[in-house]
């Protein structure tokens, strides 16, 4: 009973919603009805429209996410590697991070047009700064004692980067991926809202302008599914964090020697 209670609440709401919308036309106009949402969901799934839009938005968000995370992490490392570059660029980074990145959308449209690339760029922009801040913070949080120990081993700055800075940064970046994935999805979605002829954002805004509220909800269901799917993907990656770090920072020769 206790574990089922959230689902029961869902059922109660759906029933009330359905009742209200059959009783009051005005309510129906504003909120649609669960049965109508179901019909829209099934028909738009069967004719492939929602699946197609789902794949497009998913592609935009994931591509933008990966580009943003990789670029942000790499730039974070460069800031660590070159204190001079960090000194020059830090004020700009602070300024950039305090502006909502989607304010740059008009520029992004000029640069990338209104196609899929524009949405990827917006998603990447949304994730880039977060990843950068995390990589930077991770590098700064490396244990001074560890750093000194590696120096006594005679490690070069590049080796220190690979052996301890990178792992520390990566765990910070990975820890922020859940948040970041939300930004990527938001970026792709806002891009589609601004201008698009495909994608879930486009589907929903078009349905809204035709007063087809059930289809807006149907698009929302797919959007939630997409967010859950990407979250699952991120959680899976995070679960293998240690393996990923190990793969990137322990040399192949060491692995071979320790397996003999």
């Amino acid at each position: 009973m206790y574990t089922a209670s959230p689902y029961m609440l869902f059922l109660v709401i759906l029933t009330a919603w359905e009742l209200f919308s059959t009783q009051f036309a005005r309510f129906n106009f504003l909120f649609g009805a669960p049965s109508e949402i179901g019909v829209s969901l099934v028909s738009n799934t069967l004719n492939g429209v929602l699946i197609n839009n789902f794949l497009i938005t998913g592609y935009e968000a994931l591509a933008g996410f990966l580009i943003g995370v990789v670029l942000g992490t790499v730039v974070g490392f460069i800031l660590w590697y070159s204190p001079f570059v960090a000194h020059i660029s830090r004020p700009y980074i602070v300024i950039l991070s305090s502006v909502p990145v989607f304010a740059f959308a008009p520029m992004v449209i000029v640069w990338f047009g209104i196609g899929v690339n524009m949405k990827i760029a917006l998603a990447a922009l949304g994730t880039f700064l977060v990843a950068l801040a995390q990589a930077d913070e991770g590098a700064k949080n490396v244990d001074v004692a560890e750093y000194r120990l590696l120096q006594t081993f005679g490690a070069t700055r590049l080796q220190i980067l690979q052996k301890i800075i990178f792992p520390s940064s990566l765990s910070w970046v990975l820890a922020s991926m859940k948040l970041n994935v939300g930004f990527a999805l938001l970026g792709a979605f806002i891009g589609e809202f601004i201008s698009a002829n495909q994608g879930l954002g486009h589907f929903m805004i078009r349905a809204g302008s035709l007063y087809d509220i059930p289809s807006v909800f149907a698009g929302g269901v797919y959007l939630i599914a997409l967010a859950l799917l990407i979250n699952w993907f991120v959680a899976t990656v995070e679960k293998h964090k240690m393996k990923i770090i190990e793969f990137c920072s322990v040399s192949k020769k060491t692995k071979q020697a320790s397996r003999l």
């Binding site: 560890e146 120990l149 052996k163």
Partner: protein, 258 residues
């Protein structure tokens, strides 16, 4: 016996030597002295214990000797390669025990296969043979510190600096490791500096001992430690003849320092 001792006298070349070593930091435009005119030398096969309260500049001293920090004045000369056993084990959690031990060799581009063979031998000696593929988070603090020690031993450096290496591990593991350190340095003819705040540990492990006074640290006491080999651990050492007088002398000095 007499022949041997005359030979060691002839070989008295300092492996680590400091002369009038001083260090100060600048803090808000003010000069904060940390080390004041520290002079000592350590020869091969010997351990110098450095005893002092926490914050007395012992770690700074080791940093200067290992070249991580510059001295403000005075000189340091080291004769040979140098390795360092940190206060905490500093094992990297994404590396197995063996991969952690191989890290210095990996960084120096050395012969990893030979190092791995040697590492396995040492792991077996320390009773850790079955843990070579374990990750640091899965083994006890005492085991981790042993791994940290093996990571140092495998570098086969001429000079070894110990920075309170056993302060965070349980007493029995500590007893064993103090003995191990002593026999390693004597047997392999290394020169070592052993920083500690435990007077027993210092007496048990060292050939010479200095006591650092507080802020700025200067040598307030310097002595040779003559203890027979069979008493060389922090429990047995209490039974040796010279222990009591030495302990009380150091204790008196340290308790005067606030």
């Amino acid at each position: 016996m007499s022949l041997q001792s005359s030979q060691t006298k002839q070989n008295r070349v300092a492996a680590i030597q400091t002369q009038a070593l001083s260090k100060h930091y600048l803090s808000n435009g003010e000069i904060v002295p940390v080390l004041d005119s520290i002079s000592f030398d350590v020869e091969k096969g010997h351990i110098l214990a450095v005893v002092g309260k926490s914050g007395s500049g012992k770690s700074t001293l080791l940093n200067i000797i290992s070249g991580l920090e510059a001295a403000s004045s005075g000189t340091v000369s080291t004769n040979g390669s140098l390795a360092y056993v940190p206060q905490r084990d500093l094992l990297l959690p994404w590396r197995t025990v063996l991969e952690n031990i191989l890290l210095p060799t990996e960084i120096r581009n050395g012969n990893l296969v030979a190092a791995a063979a040697q590492a396995r031998q040492l792991l077996a000696e320390y009773g850790l043979a079955e843990f070579e593929t374990a990750y640091p988070n899965d083994i006890s603090g005492g085991m981790r510190q042993k791994v940290s020690l093996i990571r140092t031993l495998i570098q086969d450096a001429d000079l070894v600096l110990f920075d309170e290496p056993f302060s965070a591990i349980d007493f029995t593991a500590r007893l064993q490791l103090v003995k191990e350190v002593r026999s390693y340095v004597v047997f392999a003819q290394k020169a070592a500096i052993f920083v500690t705040h435990s007077i027993e540990e210092a007496i048990a492990v060292s050939d010479e001992l200095i006591v650092l006074g507080n802020r700025p640290a200067q040598i307030i006491y310097q002595t040779d430690v003559v203890i027979p080999q069979e008493y060389r651990d922090p429990v047995q050492v209490r039974k040796s003849q010279n222990f009591q007088a030495l302990f009380e002398q150091i204790w008196k000095l340290l308790s005067k320092e606030i």
